[in-house]
């Protein structure tokens, strides 16, 4: 890291000996820019997917319902038993017995507002908010069977599973893509540096001939390539950030329109150029050292 900073201060004299223009320069700049762009883009996707997954998970998994249907005389007793059991069960947060009005509202979509609830012998519904993973449904059902046989625990599981899977699948895939992009960036930058060094073999030969120490030569090349990669990656990151900022307005609305970065997440992409520069530093050092081994 110190060496990296040293580099940025640099030695403009040594700098001049590495060709400042040409395709290898363009290649380094463009490939690091392109990769940074993709990385920022996919990073935003991964972060959004993660956010989405937990949002869906939250929205879908933090409540469950216990329904108690029993003969009128047992109903209240069983409901009380259920509330007691729930209070003792880990993973269960607050419980709330639905009022008649609330039940009516729940049924409204199906039967309209005018359902004559008072004439109906309706079951008691208890809404349960869950903590974390929620209670173990199996265990809960067994206790209900024993103490409140009319109670049925419904953790919305059958609706929840595919949604959660969808969101976390998206997150997983984004992370895989991010890893791939990092790997591809690494390979591309390393190869671009090697190719550029190979193209500048003559410079290295001449420098050794006139008495340059290896460290001088390595430094000159490493500095140039690290800076180029840094500049390219910063450019790519900025364009990527602009692209990410523009997404919601462009094409999406609704749930996944939430693609983008929120709050401190805007800082994460700035790790991309830093990472790219470190990668270029290592790759160029390696390539330069290897090329130097060919010259006496």
């Amino acid at each position: 890291m110190n060496k990296l900073l040293d580099l940025l201060r640099g030695d403009t004299e040594a700098d001049r000996v590495v060709p400042p223009t040409g395709f290898t320069v363009l290649l380094t700049l463009a490939s690091s820019a392109a990769m940074a762009f993709l990385a920022v883009f996919v990073l935003a996707l991964a972060l959004s997917a993660g956010r989405q997954a937990s949002a869906w998970e939250d929205a879908l998994s933090d409540t469950a319902t216990v329904r108690i249907s029993a003969p009128a005389d047992e109903l209240e007793a069983q409901a009380n038993a259920v509330e007691t059991i729930l209070a003792q069960t880990p993973g269960v947060g607050a419980t709330h017995r639905l009022t008649a009005d609330e039940q009516a509202q729940l049924l409204a979509p199906w039967f309209g507002e005018e359902l004559p609830l008072d004439t109906l012998r309706l079951p008691i519904l208890i809404e349960v908010s869950l903590d974390g993973e929620g209670p173990d449904p199996q265990g809960l059902r067994q206790r209900f069977a024993a103490e409140a046989p009319g109670a049925v625990f419904d953790d919305h599981g059958r609706w929840r599973a595919p949604m959660i899977d969808a969101a976390s699948g998206l997150k997983t895939i984004s992370l895989i893509a991010l890893l791939l992009i990092v790997a591809v960036t690494g390979v591309t930058i390393a190869l671009a540096a090697s190719a550029a060094l190979a193209a500048n073999g003559q410079v290295i030969d001449v420098l050794r001939l006139v008495g340059a120490e290896d460290s001088y030569i390595t430094r000159a090349f490493v500095r140039r390539f690290t800076l180029r990669t840094l500049i390219g990656a910063i450019g790519g990151t900025v364009v990527g950030l602009i692209a990410v900022a523009l997404i919601p307005n462009v094409s999406l609305d609704g749930a996944v329109s939430d693609v983008g970065l929120r709050g401190f997440e805007w800082l994460l992409p700035f790790l991309v150029p830093v990472g790219a520069a470190m990668l270029a530093f290592g790759a160029t050092r390696f390539a330069a050292t290897r090329r130097l081994a060919e010259v006496s």
Binding site: E13, T21, Q202, V206, L209, V210, G211, A212, S215, Y216
Partner: protein
């Protein structure tokens, strides 16, 4: 300007002990023992492909002998680290036969390369440079690219680069290969002048007239590669 690695005058500038050199299976020479005393002037001659360039490369550590050893100011090149070799080269100016340059730098930047890489801070560098460029007749071409030079101009630029650090030893591989007779004499004069300043000079050449010319002005010895051995050429020149 340069730190001498050894100032004792009795240490030879360059010495080969039973040196042998072969590429693959092909032996260029063997059992070669030569001593270039400090301040001496030697020519190196021999047919094309005899190994003149190879022998020069041994002298500045670009190659190591397959047998025997080569010392520069008493230090065995075989035992030098890469950085020691690099520093040694600042005291051994080489006019390479292929005149290698850094293509994207100007001629004067190329000539100044040894100064740059050595980190030496010379005071009157600019004066030195322009004097030197004038001497080799490249003043007008200082800002050109090496690719824009003619063959002879490239050779003179290489010579200027070899002497810019005022090294103690000068190895010149065919410094007059591409220049006309007048320019050859000028280059020879520079080498003789440098030799009079105490520098050790080894100059590979095919040009017998040049050697003859030199012998009238300086006590030069002529080493000739013949077969696989080296001999001191004598009166027949």
């Amino acid at each position: 300007m340069m730190q001498k690695q050894c100032d004792m005058n009795d240490v030879p500038a360059i010495e080969l002990h039973n040196a042998a050199m072969s590429y693959g299976g092909r032996t260029l020479f063997r059992d070669v023992g030569i001593t270039l005393a400090q301040g001496s002037f030697h020519f190196l001659t021999g047919p094309s492909g005899a190994g003149k360039t190879t022998l020069m490369k041994l002298c500045y550590g670009a190659l190591r002998p397959t047998e025997g050893r080569v010392s520069v100011f008493g230090e065995d090149t075989g035992h030098m680290s890469r950085d020691e070799i690099a520093r040694m080269r600042r005291n051994v100016g080489v006019v390479h036969q292929d005149c290698q340059f850094v293509d994207h730098l100007s001629v004067s930047e190329n000539v100044l390369l040894p100064v740059k890489v050595s980190g030496a801070v010379a005071e009157d560098l600019d004066a030195n440079l322009s004097e030197l460029m004038g001497w080799v007749g490249l003043t007008n071409l200082a800002d050109h690219r090496p690719a824009e030079l003619s063959g002879g101009e490239r050779q003179r630029a290489a010579l200027a680069r070899a002497v810019i650090l005022s090294p103690d030893v000068i190895l010149a591989d065919e410094p007059t290969g591409n220049v006309d007779w007048e320019m050859s004499l000028k280059i020879l004069n520079l080498l003789i002048e440098l030799n009079r300043l105490g520098k050790t000079v080894l100059c590979a050449t095919h040009d017998m007239s040049l050697i003859r010319q030199a012998k009238t002005r300086v006590s030069a010895r002529v080493l000739r590669l013949r077969g696989t051995s080296i001999e001191l050429a004598g009166a027949e020149l």
